[in-house]
Amino acid sequence: MSFTIRYDDNNQELMVAGSMSPQSAGELGELRKTFEKSARAVNGTLYLNVKRLIRLNNIAFHELAGLVTRACQEKPDLKISVVTSSVVGWSARKFSKLARISPNISVEQYDTQFYPGQDVLEDGGFIPILRTQTKMTWRHEREILPRHGLKPGMAVADVCCGIGDFAALIYKEFTPSRLVAIDHAKPSLAYARKVAADFGIKGIEYVYGDASQMLLEDNQFDFVTCRHSLQVFDRPELILKELFRICKPGGRVYITNEKNSHCLGEPRGESIQWTYTEVARLWDHFKMDIELGPKSRRYMMETGFEDIRMESFMVTNLDGDPQDFADVIQAWEDVYAGKMSVERGDSEEFNKKFRQGFQDHIFAALHPKGYAGWPIWVASGRKPA
C-alpha cells in the first residue's frame, strides 16, 4: 500500500493519491490525522481531491466515510466537495456514495477543462486539420527522431496523442516493441482506434487518460513523446514530471512546441508578424504559452533530465502542397479569431486586423514567389540512469 496525503491550505484542498488498500483501518492513522486537521482548518468548503487515487479498497473507503460523517456532524456548516477522475473507472461511482451522508457533500467528476483551451482543441471538428499538421511535421520529424534516440524495437509512449496519427507513423516507421498512445479527448481516441482498425494496425494501445495523472506505471518506456502539448497546459512542469516518471532510467523524453510569434511569411510580412504576436498574447490571456518552444530546455533541466538535445525546424509552404499549409492557417484563423478572440471580448476592429494577418499568411503561402513558415522547437532529454 503506497499513498500520499497532502493538505494545501491555500486551496483548502486535501489531496489523496496512489493506492490505498490497507488490511485494517489501523494503518490509516496519517489519513485520519490529516483529514481531521484539514476539516478543522477550513472555512466553507473542503475539497477532497482523489483524482490520482488509483486503488481504494472497502476498508479504506469505510474509514474515509466515517471521517466525512464525523466531520459533518462536528461542523454542520462544513461543505465537502469530492473531486474524482474519469480516468479511474470506479472512482465516481464509489465516491458518489458519500453524497448520501449529508446534503453538504457533493461529488463531481473532473473530466473537463484539464487545460484552458480544451473545448476548442478537443472539438472533433478540428480533426482534419490535425491530420494535415502531422503530415507536414512528419516530413521533418522522421529524420529528427533518430537524432533524439528513437530506434526500432523500443517501448514507446505518445502522450497527448490526439487523433493518433503520429503514433501510427511511429508504428510503421520505427516498429516499436510496445506503443501506448494516450489522450484525454474521447472523440480523438475513437477516431484513432477507427483509423488503426481501418489500416489493420493492431499494435497500438490507445488509452484514455490525462497527461498529468496517468495510470501508467513508473519506468516503463524507452522513449516518450509529447508533441505540441506542453504549450496548452497552464502548468507544463506537471506534465513533464509525469513524462519523466514513466520513462525508464536511461530512456529519453521528446517534446515539440511552438513559438507562434515567429511564424513568418513574405510578401505581407509586417501584417503576418503583427497577427502572430497577437496570437501569443491571446494564448497568454487563456493561460497557455504558445511561445514555449525555446523554453523547453529550461523546463527539461528543471525536471531533472540530462543530455538535453535541442533543435528547431520550419514547416513551410514548400513542404509538399502549399494548399495544405494554407488550410492549416485557415483553421488557426477560425479558432483564434473566430472563437478565442471573440471569447476574450476583442473589438470588431481588432478582430478584422487580426484575421487579416492570417489571410496574408495564406496569401504568402499560395503566392508563386511567396514563402510562409511555421517554426517548431524540438527538445529531448535523458532520464538519469
Binding site: 466515517g66 473507472g89 470506479w90
Partner: protein, 173 residues
C-alpha cells in the same frame, strides 16, 4: 452478442486466459498478495481490451476485492486458485477457495444477498455503517458497482468456487 445476452446464455463459450494457483497459507501470509496478484492478473488479461489501462484498473480493483474477501474468509489446506476466461465482452473470474462448512455458508449467503432486489441499499448501508466492516462488502460492491453476476459452485474437497462474470467495457464511466 451483448454482455447481457452472453450472461443469460449459460452455454457461452469461455476461453481460458490465465490461471494462477498457490498454497492458501502462502497467499494468506501477506495481505499485499491480494493487490499484487490482482494487478498482475489484470495486466495480463487487459492488453487487448479497447482501453487497456482503464480496463486493467477496473479489473484489478474488482479482483482485489474478491481476493481480500478470500483472504479474510478461508480455511487452511489446499490451493487458492484464480482462473480467468473470456467470452467476448465478458471476463469470468473463478476463484477457488479452501473452506469449511461455516465459510461455505458465509459465501452462499453473500451470493444470495448479491442477487437481492435491495442489494444497492444494502451495500451503501454497509459502507456507511459504524463499527466493523461487513466481511461480504467486497461481493456486494462487485454486484452493485461492477454489475458482476456472482455465483457459487462446489470445488474439490472442501473448497468453493466463487464465479464472477464481469462486462467491464460496457460499464458507464
Amino acid at each position: 452478442m451483448s454482455a447481457d445476452a452472453r450472461l443469460r446464455d449459460g452455454g457461452a463459450d469461455f476461453k481460458p486466459l490465465f490461471e494462477i494457483a498457490l498454497g492458501v497459507e502462502t497467499f494468506a501470509s501477506n495481505w499485499a498478495h491480494c493487490d499484487k496478484i490482482a494487478t498482475y492478473v489484470a495486466r495480463m488479461v487487459s492488453h487487448n481490451r479497447t482501453d487497456s489501462l482503464l480496463y486493467a484498473n477496473l479489473f484489478s480493483s474488482a479482483l482485489n476485492e474478491l481476493l481480500e474477501t478470500a483472504f479474510r474468509a478461508h480455511r487452511g489446506g489446499g490451493d487458492l486458485a484464480c482462473h480467468v476466461s473470456r467470452s467476448g465482452p465478458v471476463d469470468r473470474i473463478e476463484l477457488t477457495i479452501p473452506c469449511d462448512e461455516d465459510l461455505r455458508g458465509f459465501y452462499a449467503r453473500a451470493i444470495e444477498e448479491s442477487h437481492g432486489n435491495n442489494v444497492a441499499e444494502r451495500y451503501v448501508a454497509a459502507l456507511l455503517a459504524d463499527g466493523t466492516l461487513d466481511p461480504s462488502i467486497g461481493l456486494l460492491e462487485l454486484a452493485v458497482d461492477y454489475k458482476a453476476r456472482l455465483s457459487l459452485e462446489p470445488g474439490e474437497g472442501n473448497a468453493v468456487r466463487l464465479v464472477a462474470d464481469l462486462a467491464l467495457e460496457e460499464m458507464p464511466a
